[in-house]
């Protein structure tokens, strides 16, 4: 553990940028133009990137197994054994995350200058974007659960703010709200997982912690492992329950089945946001969480199997939805869900470093794809429907080329970055000896391979529909009519070129061991995951299998590509439209089902939203017609008793006695119902209530 105070600046600088634009951005924009907004906004994450590089240099200078930098700003919640500080930690894992977040983040800030140049609330956009960088970096750099939770919910907030950035459209506002609430379901899991972990450890050792490194040390003790695996809660071992709860959190943030529904809707936000938050960084937080908590997850093969299975099913499920989407961003959104599935396969089979590898390569090629689609959307005057694009290659060559390169990477063409990372995941899945269900590795691998061919198909479909053939939007449908599409400004295309370059070459830091070449990333991340390495078992397949699988994957990618090229290139093949217009009930039914995303949104609306909306009415009804009615009834009763007393008093006792009662009663003459004026009555009511509570207490809790 080496102290490194500069660490705190990595998240704090973007916060400074956010505050600057939030408080004075509007005035600066009016006074000095847009540059006064975006220069500080770009500079802050840019400097964070530089500091990350410095931290990298510092880490490299340390011995391999002592590569941890920390800094503590202040003690935050020192209550009993919950002793969380505002403290940051950078280990090799956090460095990788930090590195690509600040790098891609800065690039996307630069790109946004061009993309958002017509936006009047320019300052607001950059303020949110910087705030997002802050929360994401806190998430990654936090040294304890609670501070991580700040980032964890913070990114959700920024995602909400940015999805509903163009809030005048109700659709965008609703999409933002949906994202936040679905994420909160995940947060609920995160919170309970944290509490269960904390108190379970406490129950075993008599002390506990919320700091990652301390928990890892405690969980390294065999006695603690044994206790957490043998004690059960609801029929599951404690450690499995903890893992499942944390995985619910990860599912929410990383859009896995069944909590993926918010991500496609999130495309309502500006495209740079989709690239940064909903593709490259925030949605990978779930993967990061599982990797960070490898020492928890590795202890429960059951949870690991679930993680891998959910990832694999999501990978295929989302890929199929991608087939029939017409909105270019929706295609990319489902592709993101699907790619996140691969990452969960990776962490699920215990190949943590490979998952992080894929997180990183995905950040490059998916950011490139999204920014490319943004360039297309801008070039076509805010058209997102691929049916009204086509032939854009001649209008915007740089965008077309970079998009093509990124497509190759995501499809896994040999020697692109996606090839190395995805292939390694599939191989690790195939070779896994940890999965609990029959056919384990083979099944996960088969699903992954199926997803891979789908991926190649729908990605190249989007490429050919958009960039080849004749331009189909020339006559305009949305009032902009008649304009030619145009290439985007240079700051945008330059970013695309940089990202495309990284999509091509980033894979070389993690070459397969099969080739007997060094895998730098594996070596770099090794100290982080060494603690759980002994638990992860491999099935022991030989290098022959690995070669075969690798060749097979390449074949799959090429098949998907060839199929897409045959169907969609130059828009000449009539088969797709014939298929869509087919009247055959089976074809028609399947198409409708997939086109409508399997009606998952509709089912959720009917079941969960429906239940909440019904239950709120019930509670409200009870409140008004039972709880409050009882109060009013008590008032009425009191008034009756008061009247009886009053009559008695007038006729029997001296009239002066009820003077007090009268004076109080007169204050409330406007209200007949609760007016009573008789203190005794209230005493009776209150005492009978007290007695009722005592009796209830005896009955319930003896």
């Amino acid at each position: 553990m080496t102290q490194y105070p500069l660490l705190a600046l990595i998240p704090l600088l973007p916060l400074l940028g956010a505050a600057y634009n939030a408080f004075v951005g509007a005035r600066m924009q009016k006074r000095f133009g847009y540059a006064a907004v975006h220069v500080p906004a770009i500079l802050m994450p840019g400097i964070s990137f530089v500091i990350t590089v410095l931290a990298f240099a510092r880490l490299v200078s340390l011995p391999h197994h002592e590569r941890v930098l920390t800094t503590t700003l202040w003690s935050w919640m020192p209550v009993g054994s919950v002793d969380a500080g505002v403290a940051f930690l950078m280990d090799p894992l956090a460095l990788v995350m930090c590195g690509f977040i600040t790098f891609v983040g800065t690039l996307i800030h630069i790109y946004s200058v061009g993309y958002m140049h017509e936006e009047p609330s320019y300052w607001r956009f950059f303020s949110y974007l910087n705030l997002f960088m802050f929360t994401m970096l806190v998430l990654v750099l936090a040294d304890n659960f609670i501070l991580m939770f700040v980032g964890w919910e913070g990114v959700g907030l920024c995602s909400y703010l940015l999805i509903s950035f163009w809030y005048k459209e109700k659709k965008n506002a609703v999409a933002g709200m949906k994202a936040f609430i679905v994420n909160r379901i995940g947060d609920f899991g995160f919170l309970l997982g944290l509490l269960l972990l904390f108190w379970s450890i406490h129950g075993v050792t008599g002390g506990s912690s919320v700091v990652f490194r301390n928990i890892e040390e405690i969980l390294a003790q065999p006695a603690v492992r044994e206790a957490l695996s043998s004690q059960t809660v609801l029929g599951l071992s404690l450690i499995s329950m903890i893992g499942i709860l944390f995985f619910v959190g990860a599912m929410g943030k990383s859009a896995q089945i069944p909590l993926y529904v918010w991500l496609p809707d999130a495309m309502a936000g500006p495209t740079p946001v989709s690239a940064l938050i909903h593709a490259a960084t925030m949605v990978t937080a779930g993967v990061y969480l599982v990797a960070r908590l490898h020492f928890v997850f590795a202890l429960s093969p059951l949870v690991m199997s679930w993680v891998a299975l959910v990832g694999a099913v999501t990978a295929v499920f989302a890929a199929t939805i991608g087939f029939f989407q017409h909105d270019i961003k929706k295609v990319l959104a489902y592709s993101t869900v699907s790619q996140l599935g691969y990452m969960f396969i990776g962490v699920g089979v215990g190949a943590y470093w490979v998952a992080i590898f894929h997180v990183m390569t995905h950040a490059f090629f998916k950011a490139c794809l999204f920014l490319g689609s943004g360039s297309v959307i801008l070039g076509c005057h805010h058209e997102q429907d691929m049916r009204r694009m086509g032939g854009l290659k001649k209008f915007m060559p740089v965008t077309a080329w970079t998009y093509f390169i990124a497509c190759c990477a995501i499809a896994g063409f040999p020697f692109t970055s996606g090839f190395f990372s995805k292939d390694e995941i599939l191989w690790k899945a195939f070779d896994s000896g940890n999965l609990l269900f029959p056919g384990g590795g083979l099944m996960i691998w088969a699903l992954g391979a199926l997803g891979a061919v789908c991926t190649a198909f729908y990605m190249f479909r989007s490429y050919y529909m958009t960039f080849t053939g004749e331009y189909r939007g020339a006559h305009g449908h949305n009032g902009h009519g008649g304009h030619q599409p145009h290439e985007s400004p240079r700051n945008m295309t330059h970013v695309l070129v940089v990202l495309a370059a990284f999509s091509l070459v980033a894979g070389f830091i993690g070459l397969p061991h099969l080739w007997h070449l060094p895998s730098y990333l594996h070596h770099w991340l090794d100290p982080v995951f060494s603690g759980s390495a002994e638990i992860i078992r491999s099935a022991g397949h030989g290098s022959g299998h690995e070669w075969a699988l690798m060749i097979f994957s390449v074949a799959l990618a090429l098949t998907g590509w060839a199929f897409a090229r045959w169907l969609y290139r130059d828009n000449r093949n009539a088969a797709p439209s014939r298929l869509i217009e087919s009247k055959h009930p089976l074809v028609c039914g399947i198409h409708r089902l997939v086109y409508n995303k399997y009606y998952v949104d509709e089912i959720y609306d009917a079941v969960f939203v429906g239940f909440v909306m019904w239950f709120r009415k019930i509670c409200d009804w009870i409140d008004r017609n039972i709880v409050d009615a009882l109060v009013n009834f008590a008032g009425l009763f009191g008034r009756l008793v008061g009247r009886v007393h009053g009559l008695t008093d007038t006729h029997v006792v001296d009239g002066a006695v009820n003077g007090t009662a009268w004076s109080i009663a007169s204050m409330g003459s406007a209200l007949r119902l609760v007016q009573t004026g008789n203190l005794r009555t209230y005493l009776y009511i209150a005492i009978s209530g007290a007695i009722a509570l005592v009796i209830m207490n005896f009955i319930l809790f003896g």
Binding site: M77, F149, G154, I181, R616, I618, D620, V674
Partner: protein, 534 residues
């Protein structure tokens, strides 16, 4: 007892507003003789009230500066014999728990005072700030005396006097300066709270006669005592647990239940909460601010000071029941919030929901739970005033609070939307803002004791997000309703009430240590009495 007078600061703080009220009454009497103009009379009484609340705030800063966070005992004690024949003393003092409430009271009352004057920002049409101004200011100042006194009093009888003193001004403030259904709301509030007070009175008398011999502050021996510190010491020594039963029930249990119901009306706890939405909706904005910010905390403070400190054995016995009610408060009120159409009513129910966290945390009786409960009292004391001020801003402009009727306001009122977003996020427990600290600690503290109740309560984090975000969407986002195209953004009066609270919410979210430092030692002392050490 050993507590001798060390300072009269608390007395000055408590009675300074009363002096102000006296001045205003004198002014009104003078007015009969010299007949000032209405505007002059109004402005002078506003100025007197303003200076008095500001004075209290400055004294509160002095109090904070002089408070020793490392001591568990009472500080700034002012102690003398008041009514010797009844063994009643005048005993003021603060420890770490009550000082947080005293500081909060001074701050929130000052904020509410700013919201009560029509200065620094235009007000259109009929407004409570222009109605019977001297009367309002007198009531307001008396209310402040009552609140400060309640938190500082360490003699049960004196506590009761202050508790009742608070009630009457509140009744008039709602009943005269309130909205359309003000009479109903005021009477409901009054009678409900009075019912609680009666229970408290009975329990107080019961405790007095059950207490053992003690000495007054001047050394005179006394048969019984009202001294809260002496009563607590006796209770912790098991004195009340062994007292003669009442109607077949154990003495400490029946007193516990009586006090608890009395205080839970103020909290308010389900099913005694229905006075709160009515009172809040009808009360003028500053009074809602005080009601939510401070009065609700009195219930919880009373529970800590009396139920837990004096009757620890009964507290252990009742913990499960309290936790159940806390859970009901949290979840049930959250769902009711989701059904509200009136913005202020929704915010009122959200207070019910959040006070449920206080109950749940106290019931857990773990260090995290109790610390979380008290911290929630502080954070809710900052956030809910913001929410009510925010509701007031829109009501002053639009004269309606119907959530559905708005839409797209963010275009006309961007600053307002921003501050409302902050307040909503703080209230829904976004980590990094003050609301989260208390909420998290309560969950952490309760989970180990009541796993099921905590899990059920935690579902409220989803529902809470839903009702707040849905409100934001319906009010601020989407197309601007043309009806509201003439609305204007925040004015300076609203800014100086909202911004300080907003800044504190952010600061305490990331740096809550000042609050912890104030209360830690006293909470530890309390935990030694009631908690299993964790």
């Amino acid at each position: 007892m050993e507590y001798q007078t060390t300072s009269t600061l608390l007395t000055w703080m408590t009675f300074l507003p009363m002096i102000g009220a006296g001045l205003i009454i004198g002014l009104v009497i003078l007015n009969y003789v010299f007949s000032l103009s209405k505007a002059a009379l109004d402005n002078v009484s506003r100025a007197i009230a303003f200076v008095s609340t500001l004075g209290v705030l400055l004294l509160a800063v002095r109090l904070w500066a002089g408070f020793d966070g490392n001591s568990t005992g009472m500080q700034f004690v002012h102690h003398f014999v008041w009514m010797r024949q009844f063994n009643i003393e005048y005993f003021m003092g603060v420890d770490g728990i009550s000082i947080t409430m005293v500081l909060l009271t001074a701050l929130i009352t000052f904020v509410a005072m700013i919201a009560s004057v029509p200065w620094w920002g235009k007000i259109e049409g009929q407004h409570f700030t222009g109605k019977k101004v001297p009367g309002y200011m007198v009531m307001f100042l008396l209310l402040e005396t009552g609140m400060l006194g309640t938190f500082c009093a360490l003699d049960f009888f004196q506590f009761y006097i202050f508790w009742e003193l608070m009630l009457l001004p509140m009744y008039f403030l709602i009943g005269i300066w309130g909205g359309p259904r003000k009479e109903y709301a005021a009477i409901k509030f009054f009678l409900y709270t009075l019912a609680g007070s009666v229970l408290m009175l009975l329990c107080m008398i019961g405790l007095y006669y059950a207490s053992g011999p003690s000495t007054l502050v001047d050394g005179t021996p006394a048969q019984h005592t009202f001294n809260i510190m002496a009563l607590s010491a006796m209770g912790q020594a098991g004195f009340f647990a062994g007292a003669a039963p009442v109607l077949g029930f154990a003495f400490s249990k029946i007193v516990f239940v009586g006090l608890f119901i009395g205080f839970s009306i103020k909290v308010p706890m389900f099913p005694f909460h229905t006075w709160l939405p009515d009172a809040h909706v009808e009360a003028p904005t500053p009074i809602s601010v005080i009601l939510a910010g401070i009065l609700l905390k009195m219930g919880a403070y009373g529970m800590l000071r009396f139920n837990f400190q004096m009757l620890p054995d009964a507290a252990n016995w009742a913990a499960h029941t309290i936790a159940v009610f806390g859970m009901i408060n949290i979840v049930y009120a959250a769902f009711v919030c989701l059904a509200q159409k009136d913005l202020k009513k929704m915010i009122a129910y959200s207070s019910v929901s959040h006070m449920g966290f206080v109950l749940l945390g106290m019931a857990a009786m773990t260090p995290q739970g109790i610390t979380g409960a008290v911290f929630t009292m502080v954070s809710h004391g900052l956030i809910s005033p913001m929410l009510f001020l925010i509701a007031g801003v829109i009501y002053d402009r639009a004269h309606t609070r119907d959530i559905e009727g708005f839409g797209g306001l963010a275009q006309k009122m961007p600053e307002y939307s921003g501050i409302m977003g902050l307040a909503f996020m703080a209230s829904l427990g976004l980590p990094g803002l003050a609301g989260f600290i208390g909420e998290f600690l309560v969950f952490a503290g309760a989970f180990v004791k009541f796993r099921l109740f905590t899990v059920v309560s935690a579902t409220a984090v989803i529902i809470t997000a839903a009702y707040y975000l849905w409100t934001i969407q319906r009010m601020f986002l989407g197309k601007l309703n043309d009806k509201w195209s003439t609305l204007w953004d925040l004015n300076w009066r609203e800014r100086i009430t909202l911004y300080p609270l907003g800044v504190m919410v952010i600061i305490f979210g990331f740096y809550p240590l000042p609050v912890f430092d104030l209360m830690n030692k006293s909470l530890h002392a309390l935990m030694d009495v009631v908690c299993s050490r964790i």
